[in-house]
Subunit: 463 residues, 2 copies
């Protein structure tokens, strides 16, 4: 190596080292500014308060949903540099109707009312209601084992609790929710007249938790109803003493297809406008409560990401698209429609980040992608970990979000925000999912975490 070459090499190395350092310093500074803005002058909390109090109970297809779609479109339009619009989406509209009546028929003539909510997409009971004996089971398998002889003509009561020893409540939910999703159809297969399901929560309280049930088309559709965990315990105790009859009356129905647009707000990329980065949540909620954690929080955090960039004068290189999906709860029409239209337009989503696990303290992100690209993407993003760890954020492999899932075939990176999960199922799908149960700072920190990661993806790409 000659002297002249050594000098050149030394200069090049020094320069690239300095550039590298400077780049990192810039990132440290930008991520700090994002957090300062989100915590000091954030809009997430007042926006979520408005969404919850003015447009609660916004099941897809309902007038409340349309109100929320207009409200969020207008807010997005008010952020400098953002173009907002509705993406048309047709969604099945399911309506609960009058309050559910569920009661244990007392032997002494005194009935005991149970706190209940029909499951989403459930059929109603006949107008006169249903009275039948209840049989308690712990699983779908048990229904199969008991068979027609024991099940026929009965109300099947699924009472397997979520496992409290699971560290992550989503794992406990995953281990119990088959009872709600497939339980009514499984019971119908063996001649049951209705199904009751213990609410999906590790708490013992009086809130029934609704959520979708899925019918097998080939089978008779029977009513599916969630009862609160305290009432599930009560019913179980009664059954242990001898045969129990329960009266059920519900009048929910699927009304039919309705317009329920997905809401989009977009900042065009200044260098690679054809590379799209989505940040989103789902705008629909259940028809009870305000959809504060599920998923008003995720929507508002995604909107706040755009506002943070604008407020800090950050001009993205890539196209950043905030997408508030429709109908996640009972059909996923928003996510499917979005991906279909995107594929038709030959779009490429470099990355998509969904926040749909509640507005709690963020603990990090989980990543997934097509196996052909995942390893290189994950290796690349892992380099940013030192920038985020001081904010208590960690990376892991795992699922992203239901709405962005259909984008996987575009071979970009799919990401889920992972907040602390301990309180989520205190509120999930209940009348108690309200703004009072969202902590302002926790919500803001989630938005800041999302904006920080989106900033890095936008600035450096993922390969």
């Amino acid at each position: 190596m000659n002297y002249r070459f050594q000098i050149v090499l030394l200069f090049t190395l020094t320069f690239s080292f300095l550039t590298h350092l400077e780049g990192q310093d810039d990132d440290v500074y930008m991520i700090k500014k994002i957090h300062d803005e989100a915590l000091g002058k954030g809009k997430a909390y007042p926006w979520l308060t408005d969404l919850c109090t003015k447009h609660g109970e916004r099941i897809a297809g309902s007038p409340a949903y349309l109100g929320a779609a207009n409200y969020t479109k207008d807010i997005l339009a008010g952020i400098k540099g953002v173009q907002s619009y509705h993406q048309p989406c047709e969604s099945s509209y399911w309506k609960r109707g009058a309050k559910e009546q569920v009661k244990i028929i007392g032997k002494n003539g005194k009935n005991i009312r149970l706190s209940a909510l029909s499951l989403g997409n459930s059929v109603a009971t006949p107008t006169e209601g249903i009275t039948a004996e209840v049989i308690e089971v712990q699983s779908l398998d048990e229904v199969e084992k008991l068979g027609k002889e024991k099940i026929s003509g009965k109300i099947v009561f699924y009472n397997r609790p979520m496992d409290p020893t699971q560290l992550r409540t989503f794992s406990a939910y995953g281990g119990a929710v088959d009872q709600r999703v497939y339980g009514p159809s499984k019971a119908a297969e063996f001649g049951a007249v209705a199904a009751l399901v213990r609410s999906m929560t590790t708490s013992l309280d009086d809130f029934p938790h609704t959520g979708v049930t899925i019918y097998k088309d080939s089978l008779n559709k029977i009513p599916g109803i969630a009862i609160s965990t305290l009432d599930a315990e009560k019913l179980s105790r009664a059954i242990k003493k001898g045969p129990v009859n329960v009266f059920l009356k519900t009048n929910c129905q699927t009304i039919g297809m309705k317009s329920a647009p997905t809401v989009i707000g977009e900042i065009k990329g200044s260098v690679f406008p054809e590379e799209i980065i989505v940040v989103g949540g789902h705008l629909d909620s259940w028809d009870v409560g305000q959809g504060a954690h599920d998923d008003g929080a995720g929507c508002i955090q995604s909107m706040e990401v755009l506002r943070l960039f604008t407020a800090l004068g950050y001009q993205p290189k890539r196209t950043i698209r905030c997408v508030l999906f429709s109908n996640e709860e009972n059909g996923l029409a928003g996510g499917r429609t979005y991906a279909k239209l995107s594929n038709e337009k030959n779009e490429f989503h470099l990355a998509a980040l969904e926040s749909d696990s509640g507005g709690f303290s963020p603990k990090g992100f989980s990543f997934e992608a097509d196996t052909s690209v995942f390893k290189s993407y994950y290796k690349h993003v892992s380099k940013w970990l030192p920038l985020l760890e001081s904010y208590g954020l960690h990376f892991e492999m795992g699922g992203s979000g239901a709405d962005i899932g259909p984008l996987k075939s575009q071979k970009g990176l799919l990401i889920g925000l992972r907040p602390d999960s301990q309180r989520y199922f205190d509120f999930h799908h209940t009348a108690n999912d309200r703004i009072e149960n969202v902590n302002k700072r926790e919500l803001e920190l989630g938005a800041a975490a999302m904006a920080s990661l989106i900033y890095l993806i936008d600035k450096y790409g993922i390969k």
Copy 2:
């Protein structure tokens, strides 16, 4: 190296490697069992519910405190293998008396009431109250700058908010609490007649937050009163429009020394009984609210550590002592007395762990010790990190707890549980610090984290 020696070395290495692995497997299994027991069959939540609802408002020296001291001693005595007792402690007893009256004197004859709480250890106003003009300041320094001319005869209103951009709320608290602790005395130094202090929280709400104020003996003692953040904003707005007079009437007083025992429950060590490991919190709370997060949670978690060991049949090698300290809030008599008696008996505390940052999701531990021993201790405990990281627990250097601080001179390891801090100052020192605001699972996870670390310290020591 000869052949025979190689064989011996290989055997030794293999054996020590296997032993090491086996030891780690045991620990993985034990820590999982601790978490399963705490989350599946934990007693922390029902115990804390009882403590809060039956023995709330338990300021040291009060009858409520004595009730709590008896309740917790009895629970500890009921855990197999635990000896429980009261350690006598004399504590200054301060009493709030009748509800505080704080109002802005309206120019139109209409007064505006402000939500207020006297600061702990504050003197009262004269019986007839105080009416004076309010002067708003942002700091103690500003009082000095304004000097006697501007301050004399006035009510000084400290209104510097906690910095919301601090990631950790405890840092924001640390940056603002000098106003509450030293503000009244500083104002008195320049002739003020009373001091109002903006409540220590980043929330905007109607809850005044009390907390201790410390008078300089050489100075006149003037009343110190906290007002809610919403009312601080209101008062500040009024002052911007022109001079504002406020009327204050309080009748708190320091009653004198009372008995307020520290509660101790102990499992004698089976191998090294002379090496003591403390796990504790402080049993006293303020005289408003139930002291649920501050610090009922820490006390109950510490009691649960002993129960977890007993329930799992774990026989500690070292002496594990659960200590529920008295009078942390307004004097620290419990911590000081405990350390003094311990030193007199020539005891050695190998380690002490305090939980006094609320019953929220645990994020890890912070460690401190005398500088002569800290490095080697920290290096040793850091080896356990892989066992705890899968539970979301991390280690850092930093403060431990006020009550265990006086043990530092014994040159053991002092440890603080670090829960998520975002919600702590929503409740801290207010009437809203109630059991409803404690999440069962978060409380249980804290107890499990503490038991896991204490188990490792007990089993392996710290050097």
